[in-house]
Symmetry: D2
Subunit: 231 residues, 4 copies
């Protein structure tokens, strides 16, 4: 099995089998919605670098579903009126991110319930599961994701989606703290910029889990499933 260790692809030694155990795995796809991906001036929290991974994520999800690996889409949805963010305790990024990228004109509309900004751009199949209660950066707190994964008997999560150095990295921290094995799919995540993307993947590889190419993960899953079937 091949993974990136501090940016370099290597063959892993024994001991990482759980990470590729397709029978106890779920994909967690993070915030691939219009609020990040819309190519329009009123996009409330633009992540333009992630637009190019919409199609590859859809393809990967198709392969995963065919192998019986469930897909969980997590997306941010904030209540109208702002009670849980802009008129409550504001998300930190609303204060800090503009220091770097400048003013974000429509940021208050980010993820508002019922608006187009909560629509997923990646395909949601009828068998997929949606967690639509993400409020800040974490996919775990304060959502029911951990509760859900336990009901699904999942032990390994495979992460893809936008903002490698933000929500994806946060998900990797949370999932590993909650005793899940973590795989971040290198070709299916994008960061704020290339530097932060590479750095976040290095952090994952040091402390949190495996950084793998989707093709290598699919290969590993197929080997495991073939071995299972042969038993």
């Amino acid at each position: 099995m091949k993974a990136y260790v501090y940016g370099t692809k290597r063959e892993l030694p024994e001991g990482f089998e759980e990470f590729a155990d397709a029978t106890h795995t779920a994909i967690v796809s993070i915030d691939m919605h219009q609020g990040h991906l819309a190519d329009s001036p009123d996009c409330p929290c633009p992540a333009p670098r992630a637009r190019e991974i919409v199609a590859p994520i859809d393809l990967f999800h198709n392969e995963a579903r065919a192998l019986g690996v469930p897909v969980v889409h997590v997306k941010t949805v904030l209540r109208k009126g702002g009670v849980d963010d802009v008129r409550g305790i504001k998300s930190a990024w609303r204060l800090t991110f503009p220091l770097y990228v400048g003013d974000i004109p429509n940021a208050d509309e980010h993820a508002i319930e019922g608006s187009r900004w909560t629509e997923l751009v990646t395909r949601v199949a009828p068998t997929d599961v949606v967690v639509a209660s993400k409020k800040r950066l974490s996919v775990f707190y304060p959502t029911d994701l951990d509760f859900l994964l336990r009901n699904m008997n999942v032990r390994t999560v495979v992460l893809n989606g936008g903002f490698t150095d933000c929500c994806v990295l946060n998900a990797a921290f949370d999932a590993s703290n909650h005793n899940y094995r973590v795989v971040v799919v290198r070709d299916l995540v994008r960061g704020t910029n290339e530097e932060m993307e590479e750095a976040a993947l290095k952090i994952v590889s040091l402390h949190l889990g495996l950084v793998m190419d989707s093709a290598d993960l699919l290969d590993a899953w197929r080997s495991v499933l073939t071995a299972h079937a042969a038993e």
Copy 2:
């Protein structure tokens, strides 16, 4: 008020007053214990770069206490026998970190209850508070830190300690998700290496909170407290 935005020190605009509100702030000092800092071959999880910040952290804590800002020390303590880690579901870092740094000889002794590896190296004053139930990377889950901070009426946490790109970064994610304002003290944290340290601080500055020098934070606290006293 001055902070580092993506690595560059700048004067901040208005809107960041809460971050320096010394009257609702606690310092959270992370894992400054022998298990990371001991300069001996059996140190179970060495963080040698952090040894140089022991004395500066102690000085900073003295100043903070004098200003009435409480100090909370969080440290990892694992049960003897390994039920909550090496004989349960192993921490991810035990699998991934050796891929980068090589074998860690005494890692199984890391943070074992009752051992010297749980002893804090930084000074604990009688009025300080200790959270001794950290189990993985997070200072929040599964500990009582959030519960404690709420009892203390804290709204802003100031982070220092070892592993900027690991437990400190994780704490910054968790704290911001739990609606605390976050300050990471740049001169009082150390990372796996310089590259990861700089990257983690950039990630904090983009999405999670402020990266400040301790001298600037102390100045800001003093201004706020003087203003309060004058009211």
Copy 3:
């Protein structure tokens, strides 16, 4: 201020002011939906005794809104297909409750997303807040209620709704553990039967918070608000 102590209404001594501080209070109204209240044979989790409190709860909420106390409706919503309950790890009540009441014919349809069984029967005003992610008995875990209440700067929760000895009692335990002051409104809750209802209210009064009549609570709120206005 008057409250029921172990079933007997008494005048309270000093020290309970926080419980009636209307300026830091939210009402949490629990599961007043068709799945419990519909008077039809396919009602998936019947709580017929609670039908009589729909109108009184609506009246109470009107008074509360007029005084500026926010109303939060919490309701159970389970995903289609049963991934988070009947095809995951089944709710305990599905196993135990039929031992007492006999078979519940349509129980698998309970709270299914998009069905009529998730429709609130009590009125939801435009300024109310809805938490639609309750999965088991608790209104806190795994929902975002605590996160929400903190954003709303709430310190006291006032509980009403169905199943005094079940979800209401659970909410009183959770809220008190999360450091909220708790008031259960005696005339606006109903239990499995009269015996369990009285017992649950006694348990609340011993360990968890105040059991009050709605009229007494409204009086207490008005006194507090008048005092505030006079300041």
Copy 4:
């Protein structure tokens, strides 16, 4: 398998096998410490009715250990100085319980770290596990119990200890919400008084899990283990 349904002992139908699966079970023994059990006037939170179950619990734990069922002792430990309770946000019981039982002279000393009031009266065997971070009524929040049980691969919890209608009932709610199967051992719990004890056990039997005699549970465990061994 026999259990009490609303106070009446009955033979259960099929479908409750998980509750007696000794191979995925842990006992959670709650707060059997001097702070509740000491027969002295300065006992800070007296639960005199529970003194009579110390010896029976010890015997039950011996039998369980012999069958390979782990014992987890959970106890309340509060920080010196009161930061997490009497000088923070006071536990609700400190306000409400005296309304019923009258003033509790030494209540401020309850569970203070390092004092005799945190000493367990029941026997702790070397293989037992201790959770010493309970802060309020819940054994789950804000402790690491759920984290620990997951590391132990536990799916069923068996509860014993003091205050059937308080911490034991709370534990039953929490455990069932966290997807554990729950057994409350009828002869190994004691309530505030007989009325509350019976009521709490009825509530458990309706909504949360099984109420069983220890002898019946031991029998059921032995049958399961014999069947396993025969496989």
